[in-house]
């Protein structure tokens, strides 16, 4: 029995690109019947010691101390549409490799 995955969507303002990410990611999760909690954040409000995510999708660069806490996938393809499928697949691979 796998617990729901935790996905962080991170962008600069927490509203612009991360909203786009959320819509796509949620659609993708539904298609693949994956249970996950999805949260949107601004990069500036991420505190490394409080990061509890299985994967981070970001449309902006993530500082080193955050990268150390969770795998980061480049979310920009989900915004531009170019390479979107590959990015989502990468996220899927990471999530599936973390079953517990």
């Amino acid at each position: 029995m796998t617990r729901p995955k935790k996905i962080y969507l991170v962008c600069a303002t927490g509203i612009a690109t991360s909203t786009m990410l959320r819509l796509r990611v949620e659609a993708f999760l539904q298609e693949h019947s994956i249970e996950a909690t999805v949260r949107q954040y601004r990069v500036a409000e991420l505190n490394p010691s409080l990061v509890d995510a299985d994967v981070i999708l970001a449309t902006t660069s993530i500082p080193e101390d955050i990268r150390a806490k969770a795998p980061v996938v480049d979310g920009l393809p989900l915004v531009t549409g170019i390479g979107q499928a590959e990015a989502l697949q990468k996220m899927l691979d990471i999530l599936q490799s973390k079953s517990d």
């Binding site: 962008c11 509203i15 786009m20 819509l23 660069s61 500082p63 531009t80």
Partner: protein, 462 residues
Amino acid sequence: MESFLETIGNFLNTLGPLIVLPIVITILGLILGQPFGRAFRSGLLTAIAFVGIFLTVGLLGTQVSTIGMAFAERTGTGLDIIDIGWPAASALAYSTPVGNLIIPIGIALNVILLLLGLTRTLDIDIWNFWHMAFVGAIVQFVTGSFGLALIAAAVSLVMALFLADWSAPLIQKHFKMSGISIPHLQSAGYMLLAVPFAMLINRIGFLRNLNLNPDTVRKRLGLLGEPIVLGLIIGVLLAALAGQGLQDILLTGVNIAAVMLLIPRMVAILMEGLTPVADAARDFMTRRAAGREFHIGLDSAVLIGDPAVIASGLLMVPVEILLALALAGLGNRTLPFIDLADGVFVTAMLVPLVAGDVILATLLGAIVMGIGLVFTTLLAPAVTQMVTAAAVSVDIPAGFATYTVMSDAAIPSSYGLYYLFQTPAVIAVIVSLAILVGLFFLKRRPLGGKMMEMAEKSGGSD
């Protein structure tokens, strides 16, 4: 023709954004090939977003109108114009007749320019078309002409695309991102003004050697990067200086903090409504542009994670406050407020001009914002009109305060076009065309030379 446009403008105005925008979005979605259900849902969501936005902007208005005037008088600074911030401004821009139509107009214009080979930027950043609508709206309020407003909005859209093309190679190199450009006026609008100054200050060797570490800045000033904390601090400070009692001071602080969080959340709903249309528009434009090489035009928010951008953005908070006070007698009446949290958007595209040096970027930011603050003061009457025009939907006690927007009103192109379109229409159009042609030839020589060299050496950060 003129009165035909006026009739349309008035019609849109009477119905109001809550009715017009959902219809526009739904129809646009259908034209772009969406199933009716999705298109309609997007439209409805857009209307709902506006209900939320008007509620929260009303909260902001009530708060600032009570402390605004009192603050200015008691402190003797004469800073009586309140900055309402870009989230509120975006909603207000969309609620104007120009704003109602800017999305379909913007998409059409971009596609045409792409097909004619005049631009290489495909601006999929649909919601940021509001910046162009903002320019159109202020022109409409000062001239009373819907036609001129449309033209001004169109001109600023083309400018945005050209500025994006011009800066694309530098941006891509510095931030190590390929295939993108930034037509986001909120950041790109400073480029023409910033480049000459950047060339000057790049020669100031000793400042560069000071080498301020971005991460140090982030750790020290990081709290200022959290809008709700910033809002609480500013709210409390302003209320105290305005002479309110302790209980009111605390309440104001909390309310402003609330506004800093709630307005952007409502804007997020708006974006949710626009995203399906944005997707359909993007697919539509990509199909039409097939075979040509183009940059994807994005919101400058994608640059904000860069440490140098964050650091200089944080430094802009005290800098902007100091500038406002220093220029108080010299043409500035604007009190930096909501947009203090958005210094990063100012510095995002300035950082590559100085090869990532935090101090130089902040200095450049200080220069453009210093000039910008005067612009915000000059544009305040038009912005205030935009607020009161929406006052039928927003509960702002009208006539109590003057408003401006530090982000968009500070951009040189905003005031430039505002001023230009007050001259006879023929002159305005000719000069606009001249500017656009000038920009077109300018962008054939992308920002480069020394700046690219420096970018190469220090090359962005990770």
